[in-house]
Symmetry: C2
Subunit: 218 residues, 2 copies
Amino acid sequence: MSLNLSFDLEISKNMTRPTKKSTRIKLRILDNAVSEFARNGLKGTSVNTIAHRSGVSKSQLYYYFSNKESLYEKTLVHMIHIWQDLFKIENTDDGPENFLRAYIKRKMRLFFEHPEIAQLYSNEIAQGAPFLRKHWHLSKTQFDIGIKQINEWVGQGLMDPIDPQLLQLTVLGVTEFYGLHATQVRFLTGCDENSQFDFEYYTHEVTNLILKGCGIKF
Amino acid sequence: MSLNLSFDLEISKNMTRPTKKSTRIKLRILDNAVSEFARNGLKGTSVNTIAHRSGVSKSQLYYYFSNKESLYEKTLVHMIHIWQDLFKIENTDDGPENFLRAYIKRKMRLFFEHPEIAQLYSNEIAQGAPFLRKHWHLSKTQFDIGIKQINEWVGQGLMDPIDPQLLQLTVLGVTEFYGLHATQVRFLTGCDENSQFDFEYYTHEVTNLILKGCGIKF
DNA sequence: ACTAAAATTGACCAACTAGTATGTTTTTGT
DNA sequence: ACAAAAACATACTAGTTGGTCAATTTTAGT
């Protein structure tokens, strides 16, 4: 039942679980904090619950994290690190179509398989990003790289002259939505709860819509 | 500072504030409950706070609402009523372009001006819609009307053969995103906090992207 | 083996939580 | 004017919350 996000998503660079016991515990706490904060928000989450879920006592948790807000902020940073490892803009040499296909697929998959991440993120942003604000410069860098790349493609006539900011934000919005609202999507499309809803199909169709919207021939 | 959602959005059919005192109080409480639940979730919200913000005592609130969960559910229903009043699918005679332009604009405006609504809704859905589930049949009806209309337009050759479910969900996703993540959008696009970010422009561009993505000529 | 540091425990506190119980005031129909 | 019902206030309970403290156990360096 445990998420074990860090391990799952191979955040640790060398792909081995951290040897040091203390950092292992910290990671375990952070993983549980992600899902708890995602579900109940900053105020609604009980530190006690996170501690118990992580198999440590409350005082033990307070030994590693000074207070609730600090834990919350560190949870956000933890999450944004995973985020950035996965969303690096790369393989741009293949041109806009292949890039966008791969990019959207990756984002869709992440949000779909780990809705808690989308939820935690979305919630913090919706509040005006009071805690995440100071860590945004990193996202901004990636975002600006994206702008440059899209503008290049536009210049090469590989796609219509589209606002690169708008394109990136729209992709983010759509993918986040499908991850976050999987339940609603399932209901509205009449897909019953148990049977897996057609992830591949939706990814493909959404991608096509966006590609066409950018005037990318395929 | 009060939201006064009900009045703001002219939910009351005759556009006059309800005469009966008790229903006026109830509405005031529900309005405040929307923003509180949106901000802090079901668990994180204090009934006391809602009461005080609404200018009533806690026991007074408990006189009108039997318990917290009931208040939460009634808040959701309250919100979904506003929702449905605003999102009725109409003016379809003008063809897909005009309809979609108006539709997206309405949705964008609502989410942008009242992010609390998007937030409350989004949060509930992300949890799997435990409370909203039983009230979904209404949304479903509207959704199915949309499907029929889009299929008609496709049949008439007014747009590419697109999955009508996908189109509707994507529109919902994008508009919700821009309302919910206004802060992030402002930051990433370099729009400073005070100056209003160009709502008209984004609405227009997003609409164009989607229209083009559907193969609607304009 | 000894010691200092790191890690862990459980008891504790003040503030807050949802919700109730018992009244008192106000409104309403007649 | 009067009784019944609706509306509201005050005080309270039992449980939970974030957070601390001192004491204890475990670990690591020598």
